[in-house]
Every structure is written in structure tokens, then in C-alpha cells.
């Protein structure tokens, strides 16, 4: 309702009879606001601390931006040390894209299966199965990667087993549930009228899926894929166990490479806080954080498109 301006005194007079319902509403408002303020404070402090530590490499230690972002030599203990993070950045992107490439078709197929083909079986078996996949902790994935995928690759594909390929495989299994559940939600939310209109015209199921359903939910599917990529980009332990961690841009899928997260976990404990070696790792964490923002931005753009 449109209210006229209230003078402070008037407002106070009005608040005077502290009736029960007014007190209650104040309690509710204050309590929930505190919670929200806490949320905001959390993110502000995360951004502040990670940024201030991450910037130290450049501001305090005088490493140049260009050397860090485009340098290909990562040798923090050499003299003079080199802090080229490009191999790790490239490695992160590489495994992320590969994982998305492997997981997306599988996930979208699974989502289609659940919503378009066999909804009953899909809902009862596949969906819980996928939720379970998402519940398996990443250290267990790492363990599986090391005891199952790496030996398999070594014996049947060649190379050392350990490498980009193994990392991408492990990650792809980890992001399967993310993409699948977003895709399944999007498909389920599609107005049933869309499908029915197509069926009523005599289109087959695949024609309906391919020409009506998929194009309509495409932005949502992409959102799911980006969410999966965000998860893959930030995953640390499982990747670190199987990717090999050599600070080089790999030339083949079977070659060892490193990611931002793997370099961070490898070095964080053995470097002294405040040393240049340690600060460089925080810069990598800063890159991770900035990438999170980028992923969210992409998702937001996609969602805007989704509204048609």
C-alpha cells in the first residue's frame, strides 16, 4: 500500500503499545536479518582475505603479472625462482573442459531417459542412483581413480596411466550428478504443452526431443554444464591424486599435468606463511576464486536467456 511519509516521532508513538504481535515481528525480522548479515559478512571476508593474500605476490614480492599468468616455468625453489602459473591454469581448464565433454552427453541422456523415456524407472532407480553418486566423497573418487582408472589406462591405453586423461575421467564421474540433476529439473519443468503440441502434430519422440524439447531447455542445460565445470575447476584432492602434477602444459592426454588446486595442496603445508613461495600459492587461490565469479556470471547470463 502506498504510505505517506512518517515522522520519526510519530513512528515512535506508534510503536509504543508493545503488543505481542509487534514484538514477535521484531524478533523475526531481527533474527533473520542477522543471519543474512552473517552470510554477507562471510563472503566479504573471504573475498577480502583471499584477495589481500593473493595480491601480495605482485605487490610485496614484485612478481610481475605477465610472468605469473603467462610464464610457463613453475620452479618456486630454484634460484632465482620462477612463478609461471600458466601450466596450472591451462591444466585446470583442460581437465575441466574434458570432463564436461565426457559428462555432458551422458548426463543429458540420463536426464532425457528420466523425463522423456521411462519416467517411472528413471524416478525410482536412476534418480536415486545419481543422487548417490553425488554423495560419494571426493577422496573416495581419488582412491578409485588411483586403484582402478590409473592401472586400467596404463595397461590398456598406454603411457603412465597417471595424467590429464585420468584426471578428466575422475572429474567427469564427479560432475555427472550435477549436470544430470539440473538437466532433469529443466526438462521436468518444461510445460507439458510443448511436448504434447509436438506429439499432436505426429512427431516422433526423438523429433520432439530434438526439435522442441532440447532447443527450449538449452540455456538450462548449459547452466547445468557450467555448474559442473565450476565444480570440476575447484576440485582438489581427487584430481591431485591422479593427474601427475608436473608443472607443464601437456602435449597428450596421457601426460602428467597440474592444476591450480593440485599445486596449492602440494605446496601449502611445506612453505612458510608470508614467503614468496607461499604467496604464489595464494595467488593461485585468488585465480580460483575469480574463476568462480566468472562461472557464476556465465550462469546468470544463461538464466537471463532462459526467461525467453
Amino acid at each position: 500500500m502506498e504510505h505517506s511519509k512518517v515522522t520519526p516521532r510519530e513512528a515512535q508513538r506508534r510503536r509504543l503499545p508493545l503488543e505481542k504481535h509487534r514484538i514477535e515481528d521484531w524478533i523475526g525480522r531481527i533474527y533473520t536479518s542477522i543471519c543474512v548479515v552473517f552470510l554477507i559478512a562471510t563472503i566479504v571476508s573471504i573475498v577480502y582475505f583471499v584477495t589481500s593474500k593473493g595480491v601480495a605476490t605482485f605487490a610485496v614480492n614484485g612478481v610481475s603479472f605477465a610472468d605469473f599468468f603467462f610464464g610457463t616455468r613453475w620452479a618456486p625453489d630454484a634460484s632465482p625462482p620462477a612463478f609461471g602459473a600458466l601450466p596450472a591454469i591451462a591444466g585446470s581448464f583442460l581437465v575441466t573442459l574434458l570432463a564436461a565433454a565426457i559428462a555432458s552427453p551422458l548426463s543429458i541422456a540420463a536426464a532425457l531417459f528420466m523425463t522423456e523415456i521411462v519416467p517411472t524407472f528413471g524416478k525410482r532407480i536412476l534418480q536415486p542412483a545419481i543422487e548417490l553418486l553425488s554423495g560419494i566423497p571426493s577422496v573416495v573418487y581419488g582412491f578409485i581413480g588411483l586403484t582402478l582408472i590409473v592401472p586400467f589406462l596404463r595397461d590398456h591405453v598406454g603411457g603412465q596411466g597417471i595424467g590429464v586423461g585420468a584426471g578428466a575421467l575422475v572429474l567427469s564421474i564427479m560432475i555427472l550428478p550435477t549436470i544430470t540433476s539440473v538437466a532433469a529439473d529443466a526438462l521436468a519443468n518444461l510445460q507439458r504443452g510443448q511436448r504434447e503440441a509436438s506429439y499432436a502434430l505426429g512427431a516422433t519422440r526423438w523429433q520432439t526431443i530434438y526439435r522442441v524439447v532440447l532447443p527450449t531447455v538449452l540455456p538450462a542445460l548449459l547452466t547445468g554444464i557450467v555448474l559442473g565445470m565450476a565444480r570440476a575447476f575447484g576440485e582438489a584432492l581427487a584430481v591431485q591424486m591422479v593427474i601427475g602434477n608436473a608443472p607443464f602444459i601437456p602435449t597428450s592426454l596421457l601426460e602428467s599435468a597440474s592444476t591450480l588446486t593440485s599445486i596449492i595442496t602440494l605446496g601449502m603445508g611445506n612453505t612458510a606463511m608470508g614467503s614468496i613461495q607461499n604467496n604464489a600459492l595464494w595467488s593461485m587461490a585468488l585465480v580460483l576464486m575469480l574463476m568462480t565469479f566468472v562461472f557464476i556470471m556465465i550462469i546468470r547470463l544463461l538464466e537471463r536467456r532462459n526467461r525467453i
Binding site: 511436448r195 506429439y199 502434430l201 505426429g202 532447443p215
Partner: protein, 251 residues
């Protein structure tokens, strides 16, 4: 032989619940049949089963027969897809594809193998003209269909249904979400179209049923209570409950 388009002893179940109970009725050619009845009586379910759209709902199943030119549409080996190409359908809420106006109409014919651009253009124009929409949209065929008003969208959906030359048109409360002007247009359209087509329409609006239909069927709790010429049903129904419904529309 039964009437060229008719149901025989048709029952439809959702799980255990029987939504349609042994209905046998025919739909004469070049005429409009209106289905009326209180909410939840099964009108939509019955209508949707006529092109076996109800099959798409998990948990629904049917017994009985639907005859179309001597073919039993419910027989297991019947080609549902083929039959749907001969039966058009329009829903209560307009549901254009999230595509351009042109693509909405060209979608069906293209799947029937018509690739020739000229031929498609022609089909689009004819269909839109038949749905009395051509003049309003001819300059913006490439625009998104969702930019149209509700009434225009609904006529677009009718045009889309017409694009594949159906012999039967099923309409489920096609005007209930529309304003009076649009409603008037749709009703005119129905009267126009029935010259070439069998039309079955579900409506809650008695006036509408009286205005557009030749035959009326009154449903109640899944059964067909009364079915006959509209004039007779509205002026002199056999059953008391029909009269009550039409006069008072209880509930």
C-alpha cells in the same frame, strides 16, 4: 460398422481410479460436438484419449475402442504417430513452441518431408489465413511466437494444428483463457472450420456450447449422461441432472 469416428465402450484409468466409464459415442462429420460437465468429470481425459495423447501420462491406461474409418486406434499395432497427423489438437492455454511464428507452423509439414521452401511458405500462409491470423502477423513471421497476445497465440496454435491438414480437430476449452473479443474470433473460426472438419470441443461456457456446437454431450463423474443435438439438450434435456447443470451450473 460404427460411425467413421467414434468410441466404443471406452474406459480410462489413472492407476486405480477410473476417470472415464465405458463411453460409446460418435462424432458426425462436418459438425461440432461440445463436451460439457462439471469440473473433474473427465471431459479433458476423454478428449485427450481421442488422439491417444493420454498415453503420454504415466500411469494412465484405457480399455475399449476408438474407431476411425474402420481402424481401431487403440489396437496395439496401430501407428499412433500416423494417426495423430490426422487429428489436430488445441489446448486451454496456448502453447506455441518457443520458436518464430513461421517455424511454429512449418514445424509439422517439414517433418512430413516437405522441404521445399515455396511449398512451406504456402502452407504457412494458408494455415494462418484459415486461423484468421494472417493479416495480423504477415509482417512479422520471423518474430517469436511468444510475443503474440494470448488470443493470437491461441489462433496460432489452431493454425499450427491446421498446418498438417487434419480431418479432426480436438479443442480443450480453447477460449477460456481469452478475453471476450478473442473468444468471439475463435468461435467464428470454429464455425468456419467445421465445414471441412469434425470438431470436438470441451467448454465450461454454456453460451459458447449453445452458439458453436451441433451436438452436445453432458459428462458427469466419468459417465456420459446425455448426448444429442445441442438445441434439444439445451431446451429440453431428457435427464434432470443435465437440466440442473445447464441452468444452474452448480459447484
Amino acid at each position: 460398422m460404427p460411425m467413421p469416428f467414434s468410441t466404443e465402450d471406452l474406459s480410462i484409468y489413472y492407476g486405480e481410479f477410473q476417470a472415464i466409464k465405458n463411453i460409446s459415442m460418435g462424432f458426425p462429420a462436418a459438425s461440432v460436438t461440445a463436451l460439457i460437465g462439471p469440473s473433474g468429470c473427465g471431459k479433458s481425459t476423454f478428449l485427450r484419449s481421442l488422439n491417444r495423447m493420454n498415453d503420454e501420462i504415466a500411469g494412465s491406461r484405457s480399455t475399449g475402442h476408438i474407431w476411425m474409418d474402420g481402424i481401431d486406434l487403440t489396437a496395439p499395432h496401430t501407428d499412433v504417430i500416423k494417426l495423430r497427423q490426422r487429428i489436430g489438437m488445441v489446448w486451454q492455454r496456448p502453447n506455441p513452441f518457443y520458436k518464430s511464428i513461421y517455424e511454429n507452423i512449418a514445424f509439422g509439414p517439414r517433418y512430413y518431408g516437405i522441404k521445399n521452401r515455396k511449398q512451406l511458405d504456402e502452407i504457412v500462409e494458408t494455415s494462418l489465413r484459415r486461423a484468421a491470423l494472417w493479416d495480423e502477423v504477415k509482417d512479422r513471421l520471423k518474430d517469436s511466437a511468444l510475443a503474440l497476445s494470448g488470443g493470437q497465440q491461441q489462433r496460432l496454435c489452431i493454425a499450427r494444428a491446421l498446418s498438417v491438414n487434419p480431418q479432426i480437430l480436438l479443442l480443450d476449452e480453447p477460449a477460456s483463457a481469452l478475453d471476450p473479443v478473442s473468444t468471439g474470433k475463435i468461435e467464428e473460426l470454429i464455425t468456419e472450420l467445421k465445414k471441412d472438419l469434425r470438431i470436438v470441443i470441451v467448454t465450461h461456457n454454456m453460451q459458447q456450447a449453445a452458439r458453436v456446437s451441433d451436438y452436445t454431450a453432458y459428462f458427469y463423474l466419468g459417465t456420459l449422461v446425455e448426448h444429442g443435438e445441442t438445441d434439444q439438450i439445451f431446451t429440453n434435456p431428457e435427464k434432470n441432472s443435465t437440466q440442473e447443470y445447464i441452468m444452474g451450473r452448480f459447484g
